[in-house]
């Protein structure tokens, strides 16, 4: 019995807990991508940098708060900075929309033109970020580090294996749940949310029924920027903030959005978790788990690893390709790309 528990604890510690946190971060990012895709109808490559910008603003506010000796006790001070970060990121997103995207909407540019434009915006924001905070690594987590420590867990349960849950992992999952519930409530229950869905489903019909397109676009940017600021901050809080990583984060986020079905909010969230869990489960070495579960004479000598971690990055693309071959609209029937 203890053997089974030990095996389960290993799986929880090294797969479930990290994948839940990573999956939540990907899901929030993919939700932003999917919102822009379904309403503004283009793939927003600047989304990663928008997340980075939000995280940067949080860090600046956190520093200000820390120097004024304001803290949240066991919780990271950065949580206080998030509202400010959301406001600043929204202003940035709206400014960019007014100065850049609006023009391309007016001339009814092709989605691929907008995609290229968004790459330009990506470089612009990324330059702005390096200009303000520099390219270095920033650790801005404070407060209590762990909800549950590996050693404490071992003493508590008497098991051989430890289970650690970081405070930031807990906050990430909790915040993601709250945000997702809010976004769904907004899209399904409010008048504005419904008008956004109508606009996404059929633009012409929505215009005919008196929906103001500029207002829909405005609300979309506000929600997307808010999601980006929160997702960026959570990611930075969990792994430390480094501008460069947000560029490479863009790839799994896009895979998540597409695997789930681009344009479908539920798909974006499911996609985030599919990518996170498959990255971890397939590259995991099951040696210890099997040693606990199997009789002694059958214990494996090798690592029992399906795929070396070297292929971790490739994995999300393999999943992407498989999904696109068998279900081009994604797992949750979004739009075809």
């Amino acid at each position: 019995m203890t053997d089974i528990l030990n095996a389960l604890v290993i799986l929880a510690n090294f797969i479930v807990v990290p994948a839940m946190a990573y999956g939540s971060q990907l899901a929030l990012g993919a939700l932003g991508i999917t919102m822009i895709y379904s309403i503004l109808r283009f793939s927003n490559f600047a989304h990663g940098e928008l997340m980075s910008f939000g995280a940067m603003t949080t860090i600046l506010v956190t520093w200000a708060l820390q120097s004024a000796d304001i803290s949240l006790g066991v919780l990271p001070t950065a949580l206080l900075g998030i509202p400010v970060a959301i406001a600043v990121t929204v202003v940035l997103a709206l400014t960019i929309d007014k100065t850049v995207y609006q023009y391309y909407r007016r001339i009814r540019a092709e989605p691929v033109t907008l995609l290229i434009v968004s790459i330009g915006v990506m470089f612009l924001i990324s330059g702005l970020i390096r200009f303000i905070i520099g390219p270095g690594d920033r650790v801005f987590t404070d407060g209590q580090r762990f909800l549950l420590k590996a050693r404490a867990f071992k003493q508590m349960t008497g098991l051989n294996e430890g289970l650690a849950i970081k405070m930031t992992q807990g906050i990430t999952v909790a915040t993601a749940i709250v945000l997702v519930v809010l976004v769904f409530w907004f899209l399904n229950k409010t008048r504005t949310g419904k008008s956004m869905r109508a606009y996404s489903d059929n633009e012409d019909l929505a215009l005919l029924s008196g929906i103001n397109p500029e207002r829909v676009v405005l609300i979309t940017w506000v929600i997307t920027a808010a999601l980006a600021a929160v997702a960026g901050t959570l990611y930075g809080l969990d792994k430390s903030y480094k501008p460069f990583t947000y560029l490479s984060l863009l790839l799994p986020i896009f895979s998540a959005a597409i695997v789930g079905g681009v344009g479908n909010p539920i798909g974006a969230i499911a996609g985030g978790f599919v990518i996170a869990f498959s990255e971890l489960t397939i590259t995991f070495a099951y040696k210890k788990v099997l040693t606990y579960l199997l009789p002694d004479d059958m214990a494996p000598d090798t690592l029992m690893q399906l795929l070396s971690t070297d292929y971790k990055i490739a994995l999300s693309f393999v999943i992407l390709v498989i999904v696109l071959i068998f279900k081009p609209t994604g797992l949750f029937s979004g739009k075809t790309i």
């Binding site: 270095g136 070495a285 690592l303």
Partner: protein, 394 residues
């Protein structure tokens, strides 16, 4: 308009003879990228040697001044590094290159630019064993030892500290792979066992999968052959957070004050190795660096020595042409001759002018062996109280 052009042309002609009295040294280091926290001090080290030679006022013709031009190797992007070296050689017309830093870009610059243009280069920090055997037309030298030697030192330190098994995580490039292989061969040769040797990619945020695999393989200690500003840090943080490992071995790429600062007290007790020496040169260089206003951080001493060696070799051969002075490099670096320490470059030049031999010891006890690489002295590092401390030499 015509007159203006004439005037410009004339002034260029007039300026030409002045140019001839100038020696230009290119400094190619990764000012952006994975080791960007180390490179400012390394460049300052090289520039300190240049400033010293200029202040001495007896270099080459006596009135010859040395200037330096910086280029960004990025440490990881071979194309960007090649372009930077190309610019230094063709546009700035440098007479020699102090650099590059990381093994991959150093190889790229050597093969694509330096050999094609016949310019000598001395790297202060490229440590890949592959560079020992690479065809280089005698143009490549390094003041850093090959990792084949570091692997041996690491294995000795681990065995002496009583570790029987270890896991290795290495950064996925020439440096990481070369060092990991060398450690594995040496450690297994001494009776230890390596449970897993897996790579990690730099510049990613999430290392959950890598840490999970390392944790399952187990081991007494985790050897992280990576970079302190990059994946290496992520791996250590992840291992500590999940309780997978609590003690680490940190080879040279992981040594720097920013790591214990970022990780905190959990890193205390971890050990490491870093090219270094207890020769009087090291202390003297640290003093000079402090006066000049920078820290004698990792590889700063090697950078000083690299620049100094190029200049002394030029003096010894009486030429700033790479094809000529490359032949004098080994002579000035090795015995016999008067030992030259940091701060004594003027003395070295004076001896060479008189036709006497010198043995440049410098800040890192330079002794060039094989095809022109440092024999390798290592400092044993212990992370103690949140600081990088040196506990011994071997």
């Amino acid at each position: 308009m015509k007159k203006t052009l004439m005037a410009i042309a004339a002034s260029t002609l007039l300026a030409a003879p002045v140019m001839a009295d100038e020696v230009k040294l290119g400094i190619i280091l990764g000012f952006t990228g994975p080791i960007e926290s180390l490179t400012p001090d390394m460049a300052s080290g090289a520039e300190l040697a240049i400033a010293e030679v200029n202040a001495a006022g007896n270099f080459m013709k006596g009135s010859t001044t040395v200037t330096s031009v910086r280029g960004d190797s990025t440490c990881v992007d071979a194309a960007a590094a090649t372009a930077a070296a190309e610019r230094l050689i063709t546009a700035d017309k440098v007479n020699g290159i102090m650099g590059a830093d990381c093994s991959g870009v150093t190889t790229a610059i050597l093969q694509n630019v330096a050999m094609a243009n016949g310019v000598a280069m001395v790297s202060p920090s490229a440590t890949s064993p592959a560079l020992s055997t690479l065809e280089d037309n005698g143009l490549f030298f390094r003041t850093a030892p090959s990792d084949a030697r570091q692997g041996q030192v690491v294995a000795e330190m681990l065995t002496e500290a009583g570790y029987k098994s270890a896991a290795i995580s290495y950064t996925n490039n020439d440096y990481g792979k070369g060092l990991a292989d060398s450690i594995q061969t040496n450690f297994e040769g001494m009776g230890g066992s390596i449970t897993i040797s897996a790579s990690h990619e730099d510049g990613k945020g999430d290392y959950g999968a890598e840490v999970a695999a390392l944790a399952q393989a187990g081991g007494d200690i985790l050897i992280v052959a990576g970079y302190l500003d990059q994946g290496g840090k992520g791996i250590i943080q992840g291992s500590l957070d999940s309780g997978a490992f609590d003690i680490f071995f940190l080879p040279d790429g992981m040594i720097g004050d920013s790591l214990p600062e970022a990780i905190g007290p959990d890193l205390d007790g971890s050990i490491g190795s870093l090219p270094g020496t207890d020769s009087p040169g090291a202390a003297k260089f640290a003093e000079l660096a402090e006066t000049a206003g920078f820290a004698a951080g990792p590889f700063a001493a090697e950078s000083y020595d690299a620049a100094a060696l190029i200049l002394l070799a030029m003096q010894a051969s009486g030429s700033s042409d790479s094809q000529v002075y490359k032949g004098s490099m080994m002579d000035v670096a090795n015995a016999p001759g008067e030992k030259i320490y940091p701060g004594e470059l003027a003395k070295g030049i004076k001896y060479l002018r008189q036709g006497l031999a010198i043995d440049y010891v410098g800040a890192s006890a330079v002794e060039l062996v094989g095809g022109g690489e440092s024999a390798g002295n290592y400092a044993e590092i212990l992370i103690d109280g949140g600081k990088v401390t040196t506990v011994g030499y071997r």
